[in-house]
Assembly symmetry: D2
Homo-oligomer: 316 residues x 4
């Protein structure tokens, strides 16, 4: 597994803060900027979330087979993705839908990591699976439906892995920060936030991507903020423009679904980019990046840096 | 502990159904009316959910002390409540808010049950606490934030307790039925559904109580459906009219927050009725009940009965 | 045309209030209870909105023909409706949908009124049609889409007809009161508010009926508040339970769509009750009414009375 | 007044289409791409909506005084805005809020146009004001609250001015297209659509900017699509990142509120950029533009061109 580095010194702050914690407010939070104005940078392999690098996570919605995962992993690595995604445990509305390959899926992710060198992120749904997931994944994802599963969040405080915390489709920005606080207060300072669309009355898209959440979050917290346009829009042809918009809004990266054969995907094929579409998106992002003082590939290693990115800076 | 009875013969149906389950549709669900047109009745002590009885669950948001719990329990029993509620594990947005008394709260609930004879319902947040909660509670509640915690739902399939499943504040009616299906398909046929308000743009109330969900659910499922007006409206003075409206809309019962001293409550005091307000509500409900062919107290025991209640019947 | 009576003395208050009006707050509004604690009662024919009578408005979505309107009018009068509804000008999302019969529809409404004795309510969409609608209708309806058409609202201040103001599907309770204030401040004190469902993520019903708005409105304003369950739920079989729930929540009346032949309706047939279904609903409402100190038919005439109705009273 | 040009030949199509119009569907609409695949370009002065130019409309929320309007107009022109905005008739929730200067405001807009050469856009609320607004404004704006004021929309079909149609804060994308269709079917082919935020449960921003609507609209209609980030986010410091994101998502332009002294603004000061903030945003947009094949200033005149812009193209 790749070594991970965190350039901050928050360890042990949890207990002291808890005693003076002021619920429901940005100030007083470990996640808040008040006592921690500089951006937190989280390094995973060659990916560095929260700095100048615009980190792209890509891969299939769910791990379906060795062939599917490895071919997709090679494609996204070739196009410039910095992290591989893939679900082994799948939260599905119906118990009769494909529930993921489980531990077998984790093994395939581990294999893909060794073969491609890409760190992997996968979702944890049940605390019982935490030891296994911790061993197999570089980043542990908490999905939208578990964003307020506080018991699970607390368990992640004791884990030596960064956590990718997705906003629920029902969760306010303040509640997302409160959920992150559960992890931070329990001892794990490495949390990456991810906007992935909220529920509204609009049905043209699967959810409504709340890109305004990016500058709001960047103002209120020092944690990295990325965007998942795939689940938000639900149709692959709307993914690239929203991915570009995410960079322009000041996001620190993306999580994008890519599948070598979306038509046969067991889950969310409609919203998965084909490899060539993903490559074209990466080209566009690379072309855009300079305007936002971003780079797609890894930046030269150095100490923690302040925020240098695009639109989300302190404007007024 | 009170004996519980279930008048239905669904045992063992889970496996067979799973193989032909059609996700996302009412038909084909164990919870659906297609293969199970008659109402399911769930007996807990003298409370019988899903029949002619209009079951009122009442008690404090969270268990705070022996004095607080016992005095509230006696008040609600005296006013006609059939089940006592009280939270020992509290899902709170912020880690710095009161998190409940935990196992100590469960013991107090057990004490209140023995002293008052009322069965108790309490929330389960973590599968690790299931053995303890199963031993101490008559009904296990799954809160709005865990309605799509599928790992937890599956574990409840193997439990010999009815489950009170609350709708999430951004869960569709179909998703609520899907979540119930996780429990049923895992082997536990005793699920009580609870509408408790959804998130909308309106801020005059804490949430927007979706009472239409009652007749929609009663049409689509044979499971009992109750309503929690307290969390929905968030202000005690709006609780009684919405409680009455719930009966008129065809609900099988209520869950209402009552506190002997709302001003000093550690959680949700604004929405808790005082004992005298609760007693007055019970009087109103009793006066209404005859119009809806409902009774507040226990009905004469008998075999499972078809639906005889109010507004939710097959109209058109 | 039936004579109309308003038992209140607000005339001339508009100007004085305007100068000290405090926008965005209940206090200071002409519609607010602060300076006008007693309920406003609005008499139209034998219907009296805001008192003990539970006023039921019924009729087709749109006026389609003499035969359709007259047969429906006779049916709803026979079942106990106090006011006839019917749209001559129809706000339709698409310009290619049936737009209503226009002035010809108004003439048919006038005919139905003379033949049945029922006062009529119809929607005004355009200030240009105001003289005609004022002459032909007893109550002028402003639809959900025009609730913030402030130019139109101002024109209604100078009209000698009560206004039935429907909440928009996007309008907060405070904004609805603000819109009513436009009419009151312009000189017309006779405004009836109507909750008709708001937009949410839920798709099982056409809109989500926000019944909590009834007690909230009854607390904040002295104006009568009625409920339209038909547009809210969108399916006729859910209309009766929600109509019953509206009475139980403290509403002063209903507006219900009824059509002699819903299958052939040019507009919203799915949500229209058949005459026999409407009659059955009226029977249910009559049976319920005593529990809420309500009567369905006209009460003995008298001076303006304080609020005596059901669930929406000052509880806590 | 500047001459306006429309490069399309839809005149007279309204009547024929109406007869075969299929409501609620993209196909069959005059606004749809089916029979009109190429983008519509609308020329107003040196601004050309729908082509390669990224058109920025800027100015104060409401016209307050000659000094305020002229100084703001000069600032936004200097920074590169192509059109001046300013409200003379203001739709305000409360009748006691500032309602705009009315005809006097229109005269000031006319003066600003003559002094700066910028075409002006202003809102029409009432059909009675149409002759005056038509004479004074280059583009007529229909605000969010009137997006389904169908009577007003029909009147705009007979006007020789482009219409800027803002999406309502609870209007679906399909309904916005239906509202545009009212104008097109009535004979005016020059409609510019504007996304400006929708209502959701999130309260950190005034509304939730639905940027996904941009690629969805660009796919379904040939009409130009711009974005108003100011009303969407409600706080000036979130305006620039969302303005940048709008370009990246494929929008054809922006409408941004700018005020020389936001602290003293009579309306929406919190969301208005100061002139120097606007100038900085324009610099950023100019730097970005090349990546999206956009230009900020006017392009060399030519015949109607196909879509060459950014993210909203036909991807999959």
């Amino acid at each position: 597994m790749e070594p991970t580095v965190i350039q901050m010194a928050q360890a042990g702050a949890g207990t002291a803060r808890a005693s003076r914690g002021r619920p429901g407010r940005t100030t007083g939070r470990l996640a808040g900027r008040e006592d921690h104005p500089e951006d937190t940078c989280i390094q995973v392999g060659r990916a560095r979330f929260g700095g100048r690098q615009f980190v792209v996570i890509a891969g299939p919605c769910s791990v379906e087979s060795e062939e599917q995962l490895l071919s997709t992993a090679r494609e996204v690595r070739g196009a410039g993705a910095a992290v591989l995604r893939g679900g082994a445990f799948k939260p599905r509305s119906s118990p009769y839908s494909f529930q993921g390959l489980g531990p077998e899926g984790l093994k395939l992710l581990d294999l893909a990591r060794r073969l491609t060198g890409l760190p992997v992120v996968t979702e944890l749904m049940d605390g019982d699976d935490l030891p296994l997931v911790e061993r197999m994944a570089d980043i542990i994802q908490i999905g939208a439906r578990n964003v307020q599963n506080f018991s699970l969040l607390k368990k992640l405080g004791r884990v030596d892995r960064p956590v990718l915390l997705k906003r629920g489709f029902m969760t306010t920005i303040e509640e997302l920060l409160d959920s992150a606080e559960y992890i931070l207060a329990a001892g794990n300072p490495r949390v990456i936030l991810c906007e992935r669309g909220i529920r509204t009355f609009e049905t043209a898209t699967r959810n409504t991507l709340d890109l305004s959440a990016v500058p709001v979050l960047k103002e209120r917290t020092h944690l990295p903020v990325i965007v998942d346009p795939s689940h938000a829009v639900g149709h692959r042809r709307f993914v690239p423009p929203m991915a570009q918009a995410a960079m322009a809004a000041g996001a620190d990266g993306l999580m994008v679904e890519v599948h070598v054969s979306p038509e046969t995907a067991l889950c969310d094929g409609d919203q998965s980019l084909r490899p060539e579409e993903f490559a074209r998106l990466m080209d566009n992002l690379t072309a855009m990046a300079a305007s936002f003082n971003r780079i797609i590939g890894p930046e030269a290693q150095g100490p923690a840096v302040g925020r240098v990115g695009g639109g989300g800076g302190p404007w007024a």
